[in-house]
């Protein structure tokens, strides 16, 4: 089992869209995928189940005593399961602030899950929710829209990953790659791509996700673009991304175990 965190502290870069469609793509490659909605906006939950802020949710696991496995449910995508999120997750930073081992609660809750991949969709911040998701992950996938603004704040995300790696002894937490989203053949996009290629040499994924209306329409119909419009440019791109991620981050055959570093927490 391999856990991949989809993270970027900037909003609107396609984190949720990437999480949903990557999960669906890996499922089409015959993997069993668990999507964990760590974002208080719970858009991934809605996009794959049609439920708006269902309860109970991941909040009850992180803040309460609920077992995560009682929340795992089917989604509209075959071979994709979900741990739903809801709006109360936005309060988690405050509610967990004084608790010991607060960064490890999600990792502990996921222990023993038998999926091939776990995909964690995170909020656009570097707060406790994202820290929980990073601590629970083996790899980080960073979606980035090719605009000038998206370059701002990338350093902060990198610093947070490095800091967490040291602080929580996450020796094997690595950036799997940076994937360009909302890609268009414009001068700005090409320039930004050039900057990122220099900065993340060897980490820029070959797959670029184009700007495509079918991605948005698929959200409205509560399914992935791979079900809604598999032959669209967005559908083809996300299928290619799933293949690339499979190659870069192979699924580990053993059940999820990320607690080995938590014994002291």
């Amino acid at each position: 089992m391999t856990a991949i965190c989809i993270a970027n502290n900037k909003g609107g870069v396609g984190k949720t869209t990437t999480a949903i469609n990557l999960a669906a793509g890996l499922a089409r490659l015959n993997y069993r995928v668990l999507l964990v909605d760590v974002d208080g906006q719970a858009n991934a939950t809605y996009a794959l189940t049609g439920r708006v802020h269902p309860r109970p949710s991941l909040y009850d696991v992180l803040v309460g005593e609920r077992k995560l496995e009682t929340l795992v449910s089917r989604t509209n995508e075959d071979q994709v399961w979900i741990v739903p999120g809801d709006e109360r997750l936005q309060n988690v930073d405050v509610e967990l602030a004084a608790r010991p081992g607060r960064e490890w609660r999600l990792a502990k809750a996921l222990h023993g899950q038998e999926f091939d991949y776990i995909i964690l969709d995170t909020p656009p911040s570097l707060g406790l929710l994202t820290q929980n998701a990073l601590a629970a992950s083996h790899r980080v996938l960073i979606p980035i829209s090719l605009t000038e603004f998206s370059l701002i704040g990338m350093d902060k995300l990198e610093a947070t990953i490095v800091e967490l790696r040291d602080q929580l002894d996450l020796v094997d937490l690595e950036v799997a790659g940076v994937v360009a989203t909302f890609y268009e053949e414009t001068n700005t996009a090409r320039d930004t791509w050039g900057v990122l290629e220099k900065k993340y040499e060897g980490h820029m994924l070959e797959t670029r996700i184009p700007k495509n209306l079918d991605l948005e329409k698929a959200h409205r119909e509560n399914e992935s673009v791979l079900s809604f419009a598999p032959n669209s440019s967005g559908g083809k791109a996300y299928m290619a991304l799933a293949r690339e991620v499979k190659r870069l981050v192979p699924a580990h055959p053993r059940p999820y175990d990320r607690r080995r570093h938590t014994q002291s927490a």
């Binding site: 708006v52 269902p54 449910s73 089917r74 509209n76 995508e77 119909e221 509560n222 079900s227 809604f228």
Partner: protein
Amino acid sequence: MAPEALARTLRAVAAELERDPALARRIAEALAAPTPDPSPTGEAEGSAGNLTPGPSPARRGESAPTVSLVPLGRGGPSSTRGDQGADAPTPAPPRRERSTRVAPRPPLPEDGSPLPVGEGSEVGAARVNRSFRPRLITGASPELGAGIPDPFALYAEKGEQGLRAALAELRTGSLRAIVREHRLDPAGRLAGNNDADKLRAAIVKAVLRAAR
């Protein structure tokens, strides 16, 4: 009305006027229009003596309406609270009645042609300034529970109408998941079909067939 509430109200009115230039223009025109002299008793103002219209903009040669806010209990040039006693001879200045009149709408063209949309057009202004109503997404009913809904259980519990009502709330993705999960399309005729109505019809048909 409490001063705070009044201030909130005025701020809201000011915000609306800023947002809607056409409304502001109509009110300005209405206020600038000549009005009969006010009643000397000022009864129309009731107990809200702290809000008094200022001098008529028309008399000052201005186009914008103004109001003056006078603290409660102090009275004012036009105060009608009666707290100044009988020896308060200060005459109230001319005051206009509160008016709700607005500028008349332009007549509709007799030939039925549409009115021009844009500056100075009431119809156009109404179109431009229609209130923003975002689509409210409530999602699938919590009654359906987590996971993929079971149409057979829904039919058994709520009957055909209940099943149809439940399916009507679901989007294509959920309907497709029901079809796939319960193997309602063994021939694969609905594969790749994004028509929600066809998916709903297929589900209902399969459930009714099984129920017979």
